[in-house]
């Protein structure tokens, strides 16, 4: 999976979870949850969606790596084969 693929996937799942949210609106030093005004249920739904789409089992201890757009894309590209 390329970074572009990963980003597209994140966008698609994010649109399901929070239709009004755009990943581009998240600044480089901001977390997705903060910048997009998402609560913990929204974030969980994002993780569930990504896990379902990629087949990657994302353990909870990895969540801290997923809080920024860059971290999320890096994580997905590293884990998806």
């Amino acid at each position: 999976m390329t970074r572009d693929d990963a980003l597209d996937l994140v966008k698609a799942v994010l649109h399901q979870v929070a239709p009004e949210a755009e990943i581009e609106d998240v600044g480089p030093d901001q977390t997705i949850q903060e910048a997009l005004d998402m609560d913990s249920i929204d974030f969980l739904n994002l993780v569930i969606g990504l896990s379902e789409k990629t087949g990657i089992d994302i353990p909870e201890r990895d969540y801290p790596q997923l809080i920024t757009p860059d971290g999320l894309v890096s994580y997905l590209t590293a884990k998806a084969r």
Partner: protein, 481 residues
Amino acid sequence: MGAFRMPSLGADMDVGTVTHWLIKPGDRVDRGDIVAVVDTEKSTIEVEIFESGVVDSILVGEGEEVAVGTPLAQISTNGISTARTEAPRRPQVAPAPKSPITSPVVRRLAEKLGVDLATLAGSGAGGKVTRADVEQAARLLEAEPEVVEAKPEIAEPELEISKTEQVAETGTALRRGSASVRPPAGTRTARPSWSRASPLARRIAAEKGVDVSTVRGSGPGGAVIAVDLSRPEPSARVQRVPRSPPAPEEEPARGHEARGRQAAMRRAIGNLMARSKREIPHYYLSTTIEMSTAAGWIERTNLDRSVAERLVLPVLLIKAVGRAVAAAPEMNGFMIDDSFVPSSAVHVGVAISLRQGGVIAPAIHDVDQLPLSELMKALRDLVGRARSGSLRSSEMSDPTITVTNLGDLGVESVFGVIYPPQVALVGFGRITDRPWAQDGLLGVRPCLTATLSADHRASDGHRGGRFLAEIERLLHNPEEL
């Protein structure tokens, strides 16, 4: 026999608009069936009926705004029409095959899929036709070659042009629906079939001139959400509704409408909160709860769970509140005519912020009885439906206590305003690492501030303190939850 009235979907509701009826005269309804969709200033609610019976007449048309308490429909109970001319009830030896027993929702589904209910044998209780029966029949229909009477399209009256276009675009399901099951135009004027859609999606659809019912929803429960409307056009799923000539000056008007809806929501919230502050003698308590045990417990529990089954902290908090009211029943119930009426059921209202602004606090029922996994599912479902505008009337009208959790937004504590006629509201802030002294040692621990806003007419600070202490005890013993 009874009147089905416009329900009060929360104390902040004075009027509601019936946007869709899911029943018609002659239909059989069962207690709990969703029979209508009502728009309030805050949300779109699916309204359930509280009585079983047969629909006698519909008294309020779609699109009409009426006050809470206005009779919407007449329901005759026990399947007997109120008209005395009807034969008295007999033991049901010979079932009447004409109108099979089913619920409005199933009937609606059948209509949508073009299935004739009279041809189905129900597999549900008492021969009731279930959703599964209808879906199976629809699959069979799908498999059959198209043998619809080849009614030439030209024969369709001109009135039906938009419908014909729709047929051409959305394919066989609709064609079956309109050609073989429904008699041709006239009996049923082109009423758009109802579909779930978020308030935002409805607004966007109206702006784009798109009929929401023709859009395939990707939100919870197939609800149409905003993103479904931003797919590239022209799409096979989206049908443009012919609109009167476009007017460039419409632009400001539309902004106006959105602002109008926002303003109505703010007004509704403002009125209720003003009433709460005017009438309820609030008292406030606060306590800091050490959360390392609870946080560790969730982490360990989630290790064995798949992503979709993991718990989040709010579930633990909601459950703790639901259980703690057993130790302080004065917190759970309603203030009615200046006297407190405790509730034996624990329906916890959960404050959910809406993306378009505003907040809504629908209930999760019987929280004290629900295992955590079930509660987690219920919470995800509720949040999804709150945001897509498909909450149910029972969820809106009967929370017995409310929980607000602003921890996600980073505040340390929240002192809420009680939601009348309830008498208590529990607020949770964010978990933060704080210096914590325990057993004579100072350490850094994750801590959470829990607050209580309670009604002095129903309880005193002493009891409120007892309640918060019980919440703390439960969170220190999460395996009990």
